[in-house]
Symmetry: C2
Subunit: 314 residues, 2 copies
């Protein structure tokens, strides 16, 4: 049984981490860190910041960091140095260098560090990976279009230069891509659409490339969508000319229109299926005394944000 | 004797690579690749692009890639696959992932890949490194201020989103830093000043951090300087409270005002000293059948460009 604290009680922590931990027999929630009091009283000690938790007599073995990404590195660094295991919500840190430094500290401290990209635990991914391995593909297209207002209400950090904007969600698509394809993928070019007075893109068109120059990939990422059809799909043109379509963020898989896999209950709540698997993996990693670290996904988004062409809305 | 071709005959190739290769007994210049004819006729075959050189009967063992950075990866990839050794002018590629892929290909092809950061070969660096190792430092400050019009006349690519702007030169300072300090350095925050209708920053203030949170570092990078005092200095406050000053891009080293090392002839032409050392190293690497690859410097600049706060000049 791992005594765990949630650090940062925003939307993802309240809707996913909290109920998952409360239902998981391997974890016991013993503290919460949040700068403001929670509207729903939890019968668990609340600390205004991570230092206050460390200075208290509340014992924890692990933490799940769910703050805005810019704070991840410093909290994780202090936690690992204090001998705690660390689960990082995506994106793991602001920069790849920070994640690699945390990996070094975790090894030095013999603690588990887990970059928990939740979309990597989507239900249809194992079958997707298996089909891509069998048939390979010549082209890939990502469409990741959702409403920021719905998923990140009142989140001002989201539009900061360190807030990721459309790639807060878009990075989930890329975490799926690096998980299911067995070849390296590179940034090629990008157009970033930014709203006035903001820093992070609201939408982006991105072209990717592969070691094989005949293979192509593109992505459209939009967090400012306001219609009724939020879309989280990745489509592959297979080398046998069939079309493989992964949709609903990884809950539905279709091959030339035929459904190969469908999560029983599809919809926003189907995301819930990912978090029990994440905490199962975290528990296993701790038992085995190892870390699981993916920096490829963050590197791709860093490259897009560094070298994409910016245009500003009037 | 390596038969070598220069690919991309811009300012740095004409002023540094060409005279260095012509004077180096280990290399023989057998071709030049440039999209437009050269004003000064060279008695050497000229090809409009790299494919045309490969398709010709002119034999080469190695190439030096001196094009704008966005073209480095594709030319290097083709060259390595064709069995050539490759020297990359800085920055080695647009993205770290591309450099790592080239490293993989070089290993597979048993050819030498050399990321030739020229400022790493500045004369005062070995002594600087030795003093920093002896005394350590608590603070570091970089000032890298030069005239783009002087060093990159008519270079439109320079202001593109993949042109690096102030970091075309600024990355030299960072290549020195990662070479002389023996600890990891991270991006902390940045303010990027961009001129209207342009993408790459003309100037930037950057804060860096280290694993030790007591240590600080900052940098000011400006390629739009128009005065008489171009500046390429890095200053350290040592832990014994002395001040270590590396200036002239690495040609002059002073300790509390006392000169410890001075290149006999300081000035823009003192850069010349770096390139003979670069070609000596390239020749040694080829003889030993190994590569030399630094991605740390490019990662730092990628992080700055990805997560820096942009402001636009009126």
């Amino acid at each position: 049984m791992q005594r765990i604290a949630i650090v940062g009680m925003g939307q993802i922590a309240r809707s996913q981490h909290l109920p998952t931990i409360l239902a998981d027999k391997d974890f016991s929630l013993t503290a919460v860190v949040n700068p403001v009091a929670l509207p729903d009283a939890l019968d668990i000690p609340l600390f205004p910041n991570f230092d206050a938790l460390l200075a208290s007599d509340v014992a924890v073995d692990a933490i799940a960091i769910c703050t805005p990404p810019v704070f991840h590195y410093e909290i994780a660094r202090c936690a690992l140095k204090a001998g705690l295991h660390v689960l990082l919500e995506k994106p793991p840190t602001l920069t790849v260098s920070e994640t690699l430094e945390l990996a070094r500290i975790a090894k030095e401290q013999q603690r588990t560090l887990f970059t928990a990209w939740h979309s990597k635990f989507a239900a249809a991914l194992p079958m997707t990976k298996s089909i891509l391995r069998e048939h390979d593909f010549s082209a890939m297209s990502i469409t990741w279009q959702e409403s920021n207002e719905k998923w990140h209400p009142h989140a001002n950090w989201f539009w900061d230069c360190v807030g990721f904007g459309a790639f807060d969600a878009g990075i989930n698509a890329l975490s799926i891509v690096v998980s299911v394809i067995d070849k390296p993928i590179f940034f090629k070019s990008a157009e970033l659409n930014i709203q006035r007075q903001r820093q992070a893109p609201v939408s982006a068109h991105v072209a990717f490339s592969f070691p094989d120059p005949e293979m192509t990939a593109e992505g459209y990422f939009d967090c400012g969508y306001q219609g009724q059809n939020e879309t989280w799909t990745i489509e592959w043109k297979l080398k046998n000319d069939a079309k493989l379509l992964l949709s609903e963020g990884g809950a539905l898989l279709q091959y030339d229109g035929e459904t190969l896999f469908k999560l029983p209950e599809i919809g926003p709540s189907s995301l819930n299926q990912e978090y029990p698997a994440i905490y199962r993996r975290f528990s296993d990693l701790i038992s085995q005394g190892i870390s699981e670290i993916d920096t490829t996904t963050l590197q791709l988004v860093t490259d897009i944000l560094a070298y994409g062409k910016r245009t500003y809305e009037a």
